[in-house]
């Protein structure tokens, strides 16, 4: 059973690779995040294909997809929706905002005001939004891919650490390699291809897959290793702040998903080591220059 799931996932990843050229790691990590029921943060310059990635994923997973372009004048209500008095029916009714979809691409999240950001982040964590003291459940599955420009660019608001922590993985796409870029130059518009894509999964199947992935075995020694990592990040003087308990849980969840993608029924330390570099946003260093994930990878012993 699991193998047929995994086969489907492999086909999915394969298809995504046909459209987003030269980024197999990013695609696999995005799929893993989705399997682990987490949110993805993409930090990169404009125009490297962040939106395409989100699009492709939504298409292939058969999810409803909405894109919110964050700007400095965006209001929280623009995301969550508003309560409007319906004069015909003489009652207030809630008009859902763009957040009410299965996959949200929050583009350039750091250009919005903190108030707006927190509206999004509440939705990410609680999977519901509260408008006028009324809670509205967000659809399930619910998955946010947020992109942000590197912080040094002007006109941006820094995301607070506590909010960054809610993203399971943080990746960056980077420039395509030479061959991939040539291909892109020859076929400038991938959207045609995109439209012709058939969904491979559907939301129900995704929920099943998530359940299967969460059953991957994590043995005592593996948990020992994970805890060693967490403890090291909290104790070592090079770290300003280490992994939060939530970060630890999401690390384990995504490691499970990764092992699942690798067609294994158990997590190996290597899985954790593979995804560790993409969890840097959970950490902050005393000295900006230090490569914290490298520090963790070399100094923490595998038991």
């Amino acid at each position: 059973m699991k193998n047929t799931y995994q086969h489907k996932l492999e086909i999915l990843i394969d298809q995504a690779n046909q459209i987003i050229l030269g980024k197999p790691d990013a695609i696999k990590l995005a799929v893993a995040t989705l399997l682990a029921n987490g949110h993805l943060l993409i930090t990169d310059k404009p125009g490297v294909g962040k939106t395409t990635l989100a699009n492709v994923i939504a298409q292939l997973f058969g999810l409803n997809f909405k894109r919110i372009q964050f700007t400095s004048d965006l209001l929280p209500a623009d995301i969550t929706g508003v309560t409007i008095f319906d004069q015909e029916q003489h009652q207030f009714s809630f008009h859902q905002g763009p957040l009410f979809t299965q996959l949200v691409l929050a583009d350039e999240i750091n250009r919005a005001t903190p108030k707006c950001q927190s509206a999004l982040l509440e939705g990410m964590e609680e999977r519901q939004v509260t408008v006028d003291r009324q809670s509205h459940k967000l659809p399930s599955p619910f998955f946010v891919i947020a992109t942000r420009n590197p912080d040094e660019q002007s006109g941006t608001f820094m995301l607070p650490d506590s909010q960054l922590d809610r993203f399971m993985l943080g990746i960056s796409l980077g420039y395509p390699d030479r061959a991939a870029e040539r291909e892109m130059l020859l076929n400038p518009d991938p959207r045609n291809k995109l439209e012709s894509l058939d969904p491979i999964l559907d939301p129900d199947l995704l929920v099943q897959l998530q359940g299967a992935a969460s059953e991957v075995t994590t043995s005592g020694p593996l948990l020992d290793y994970l805890q060693n990592l967490l403890a090291f990040s909290r104790q070592d003087p090079a770290f300003q702040s280490g992994y939060s308990p939530r970060a630890g849980m999401s690390l384990l969840a995504v490691a499970r998903a990764w092992a699942f993608l690798e067609r294994r029924d158990h997590v190996l330390p290597e899985d954790i080591q593979t995804i560790l570099p993409y969890t840097r946003h959970h950490l902050s260093a005393k000295d900006q220059g230090t490569d914290l994930s490298q520090l963790l990878l070399t100094h923490v012993a595998v038991p």
């Binding site: 043995s219 005592g220 020694p221 593996l222 595998v302």
Partner: protein, 693 residues
Amino acid sequence: MRSLTSRFSWRKNNKLNNHDEKPKLIESTPGGLRLLLISIGLLTLTALPHFGHLRIEIMIVFLALVGYRCLAAKYRNLPRNRWVIYLSATIGFSISAWFYGPPFGRDPGVAFLVVLLGLKSLEITSRRDVSIVIMLGFFTIMTQFLYADGVSWTIPMIILVGGLMWLLAQMEHAEPQTFMLGDIKLVGKMFLQALPVVVILFYLFPRLSGSLFLFQGDGNSGVTGLGDSLKMGSISSLVESEEVAFVASFFDQEPPPPSERYWRGTNFWVTDGREWSRGGHGVHLISKERTIVEKKYTYEIELQPNNQNWLFALDHPGQAPKNAWLQGDHHIINKEPVKSEIRYELDAVSFDDSEQLLAAEERLGLDLGKTEITPRLQKLVDSFTDQAPSSIAIANRALQYFNQNEFVYSLSPPLLDSNAPVDEFMFESQTGFCGHYASSFATMMRQADIPARIVVGYLGGDYNPRSNQIVVRQSHAHAWTEIWQEGQGWIRVDPTAAVAPERIESSIDLNGSTGNNGQVLFSSLNLTGFKKFITEAIWIKDSIKAKWNRWFINFDRDRQQELLRSLGLGNLDFRYITIFAFLLALTIITMVSLLIFRREKKPLDATTQLSLLFDKKMMSMGLARGKSEGPRDFQLRAVKAFPSQKSELKDISNQLIRLRYRMQGSSEEVSHRADTNQLVQLKKAIKSLNIKP
């Protein structure tokens, strides 16, 4: 609920199966017979060396007792009740008392002990009984070392101790005949653990002087060495012996060249025409006051027992060692005959020429006793003395005579049985060895009115460059002469040199051996090829033996004193004993407390141990797992590094991964759940990995 049915018959089995019964007869337990026979075999071995010193009757009693026990194991109806044991005890102890008397002192005690050992072996019933007999076995081994020849049994007896310890361990098992190999390993481990204790105690445990009991060692007999008289032919039997007479160590100095290696034992002054001897109780000449010109060598001699009371020395000893006296004729008399190996240090010096001839020396040195001088011998002596200017000139003429006539050096000369053996040797047989030449030369010198004496001792020795020692063997025994030359004193003349000069430069080669007609082939030191290799091997062997002697066999109170001084521990006195006892107590307390109060490490569970074992094994093969390297990365790396063992490595690491990462729960829980057989198999597989990188 399981035993509800069986409860109905509870009356039948309310007897506990392991208490009311008598201890089981060892041979009727599974595997017990083999264990019993091994025990008796080893116990017999503990008594075996005593065949050398106990009366055969005692040994027969012993063998009869253990033999009977073995037979009783096969034929179960042989009586072995207490009457049999009382009877054998009475007979055994009576025989021991008949030959040795009451069991006090060494020999009677040992005889008693051996009989007791036999009786106790006869008594063995249960496995536990074996333990007490093994204790007696230890004691029997110990008594072996109270005899001088016990030394050679050291190594075999230590192995035997290992065997007995193994037996003790076997006796403690729930089932006999299990863990035979495991117990061998365990005993080996225990020997290694005991080693530092043995070394420390052996060298640092204060050696107290003297005996603490009244009975002292019985004498030595049958030792070889030079006799105290020289008949024509008497040395020849010695010459064939490769036994070591003594070893001289020169420490960091150059040893004397071969031509100077004349080791004087004693001097023979008195002759009756056939035999030369020291005369009566020996000649005692007072030491002369002489001026030392040069101190040539300082050396130490380890002398094997020879039952004579003289000590060997290079010419000329400057001073006598402790408990010995230097005589006027340069030989050293020990206080008592050398019955066990002794060590002494000596200087070799040279004196100025102003030596005075003592009246006694002149009288003894010219006395020919009842020697029969035949006319032709007289004529020959006259031809030497004719117009000769000095004693040396006369001696030289005599040597020339030996050299120019057809004298042959042989270790198997014809018998000289006439009344005038000197005459017979000089004119008829003309064949002989050092003794013949020395005695005829000395006789002729005395006849020519020159004071002369025979010196016996050793000539040469095997030099071992490894240890800077000269090993002198019985085959180096030699006799030469000294004559008086006015103005020069006593000078050494070796007539053998005139016949066989090689004898001085090299030693008799007993391996190449006496060729045809007893002609001796001499080996010289410029060796080649295989021979050189052999010599080298012998040197190494000897130097090991020298170290063994120095640090084991002859380690005594004096050596300990030296050792303590060099370690800065001061003198071997009451203070040291106190300090030693204190340190010993302190060490034991520290060890015990380290054992008990060391930081408690949680015992590792089996799967963790196995994975550590694998890492260690791979490290020993040159591939260390990185500190933060995951198991699969390591597996890939290992397979790449050792492609020849690909499948084994893959299999082992897959199994480890399965145990450590595929099973839910902590590794302790997994270890509890896991199939023990599989773990043991895996451990074996890891251990049997063996790849040279």
